[in-house]
């Protein structure tokens, strides 16, 4: 049973942004491909729904972490491809390190408590 990433789930807040930033790190993708990539890379555990993917992408556009350019999809359709900006790269680094710190802290508690 895949865990769907919906606006109101137990996923830590900001996790979706982190995942999107991470999959875009290796190259530009269109919306559906982002969802697919997360799905596949998580061994089909995580499913990103439209209702959370597009609001997140809009917010990232607003923040200037990604930009959108026109491209042609595999199905030969004109779609928008999202690409990481330098600001986005910096944000990714920051989010990864803060994510590491948080999980480490949680792990420590789980081990010692």
């Amino acid at each position: 049973m895949p865990i769907s990433i919906m606006p109101k789930t137990d996923m830590p807040p900001g996790a979706l942004t982190l995942l999107i930033l991470r999959v875009l790190h290796s190259g530009s993708l269109h919306g559906y491909a982002i969802a697919q990539r997360i799905h596949v890379l998580s061994s089909e555990v995580l499913a990103v729904e439209e209702g959370s993917l597009y609001p997140s992408l809009q917010k990232m556009l607003l923040k200037g972490w990604v930009t959108a350019d026109w491209g042609i999809s595999e199905t030969n359709r004109k779609v928008r491809f999202y690409r990481l900006t330098p600001a986005g790269r910096k944000q990714l680094q920051a989010e990864i390190s803060s994510y590491d710190r948080v999980t480490e802290a949680i792990q420590t508690i789980l081990r010692t408590a």
Binding site: H30, Y32, G51, Y54, P55, Q58
Partner: protein
Amino acid sequence: MGELFRRLRYLLQRRRLDRELENEMEFHREMAAREGRRNFGNTLRLREQSREAWGWTWIDRLLQDLRYAARMLWRSPGFAITAMVVLALGIGVSVTAFSLLNMLALKLLPVRDPASIVRLQRRSPENITSETPYTSFLFYRDHVKTLSAMFATLGAPAMEMDDDLKPVSINYVTANYFSELGGEAVTGRLFNVTQDASANAPPAVVLGYDLWQQRFDGDPHIVGKVIRLNKKPVTVVGVTDKNFVSVGGQYSDVWLPLIQQPYFVQGSTALNDAAGGAGVRMWGRLAPGVTAKMAEQELLTLTNELRKQSPKLVWDKEYIRSDPGGHLQVMQPEMYRAFAMIAALVLLIFIVACTNLGGLMMARGVTREHEIGIRLAIGASRKRIFRQLFTESVLLALLGSFAGLALSYTGLRIMCAVFPTPAWMSFAPDWRVMLFTVGMAFLAAVFFGLAPSLQIARQRQRKTMARQVLVAVQIAASCILLIISGLLVHAVHHMLYSEPGFGYEQVIGISPGLDSHGYKPEAATAYIQTLKARLLGTPGVASVALSKISLLGNGFSAYMTVDMNGRAVNVYPNWIDPEFFKTMEIPLLRGRNLFPGETHAVVVSESLARRQWPGQEALGKKFGDVKDLVVGVAGDARIKSLNDGDATEVYWATQATDMPSMTLLVKTAGAPDGLVPQAKSIVESLDPKLFPYIWLLKSGFRDYTKILENTALGASVLGLLAVLMAAVGIIGLVAYAVSQRTKEIAIRIALGAKPLHVLSVVLRQFLVPVLCGALAGAAVTAAVSQFLRKILYGISNLDPIGYAGGIGVLIAIATVAALLPARRALHVDPVRALHEE
């Protein structure tokens, strides 16, 4: 910064970007479907959620709400028009008051650099005057550093021009007056420092544009012509431009150089007799970078220096106050009280309009129950519905507000056409008036729309409580206005139809103006004696009396406030001769008249005697600081403060030193009008350099009552406007109550209820709020009546007739307004009404 920029760019390309998002999400679903996954959810809602990230959705909602509100108003034109009329009246009155304030005190005059002009006034803790001795003005002008220039004006009585019957108004100004104000000549030149600053310069006059047009038909060759002012030849040097604006609201037909004043008023010592002479009005222009405070500081230092030089000229603790002078009316702290009063009155009208509309909105909420129920059922949030309803109120308020602005502008234009107004004066709304109008619209929307919108959104519009409060507030506000107008109307009535305590119909006043021509007491006494004898020898003259204070004509009014048994009482003094009481028909109630020139004796008015020595005989008592013996008690004659019921009078015998400033009162056997030219020629024949001021006391009395009548009329119009609006509101609410309770009424009628009982069912809910409102209004008026008396002279403290009149009119109109629609309840046909359900 980049974020804001991206946000704005999104706003500009919103439609395209939204379409792209739609495409994108459609593509997403297609791909998902291809892989056998189904996506549920409202696509529109999903897209809206995505768009929210940009923070612009409120604009869409606002536009949506506005469109919807416009459609709703369009669909119920009756309601929309009623609401707009009510608002236009309620807000229009406020906008008019604000426009006038704006014109008087906020707008800068179209003169050169108006913001740096200051009006300078002498003040001390005890004294205030706008007039400064000319020598002091010269001292300040020659020493001041913080002011780049100083100029002065001196007002004077109107002058006779050539042989015209109509006198021309005049003003003496310093030679730099026109250049400081940036005035231009339409022909010839205006005064300037090189040609007009010397007393020896040839006499020059500048004509006002209007006088030039009307009296000289705009004669292009007027410059160089010699005219006679008070028989003194003077050369016309130029004419002011049509748009010339003077400061301090001083308009005059002709302008004369201040330095030449002694030429026009022969023997005048106004310019050199520093202590006793008249004073000039001082103005200054702040030097660049100087604040008014800095200038006041320097002037204070100069005042102290001046005191050392001539101690007689300067009061204790005197200082010079500066006020922004570039406005039509230089505002004094004292004037704000009157403005606050007017503001309070127009706000009452505004409150009546808003509460009225609030009631209508509530009633309308019931008819919209169905619509709002459906919208709630299909998922609209209460917040969203409230926002939509409130948007509707704001739209309505804005429409009403601008209708009010149009109404007010029309009214002011009509006023401009009726009363003579200078050409430059325009009431076209400027940004301040616009801002005020929009501000009032939002305030109105909050007042009339907020509570009903909340109630409706919470589906509580059927509660009667809120409606009753609204009715009570309307009634209370109208009640205050009606009582005030009742008080004023009664005061006018009292003044017009009761005995004033003195006779004025057959009396003329003559002020020969001896002091302005430098008469000394001996010469003045001789002149007055001769004049008196000549007047008494004129056929038709019954008696001639002397009075130092000019009565019911031009001239200042002096009074002292004396503490009498713990109450501050205004005492109006006068210096008279023995003929005075007979001439003015003031009865001498007890004791005797004053002897000619008697000292240490005084006659007091009955009211003063009662106040000072309650329950005792005033005769033989001592009055005042110098302990004058009270020899007589005269009837009350409040000539100098006609409508101040608390005023008292005290009379002393004239002394020789009073003679230069004496006025004469001449009582005729018949109508006094014909005596005026005769008296003028007698005064002038005795000394040709005099230009007497002669007036009919009855026209002074009429002018006085006219002011009071106009105030009463204005207050009555406001009061009636308020009560009519309240009546419309009550009619609407009662009609609504009847329709809401048709079924109940039908059952009662079917069970045999009497008509009176049926009426009481409908009207009971309004009885309490109307009574509460009326009581609250009366209580508020009574509470502020002390304050009211200070501003609306003439109303008395607790005048039962005024109160009863105001409340009576209110109750009568409210009753009619309630009964008109309530009658419908009696005609309810039980069979049909019960069938309908």
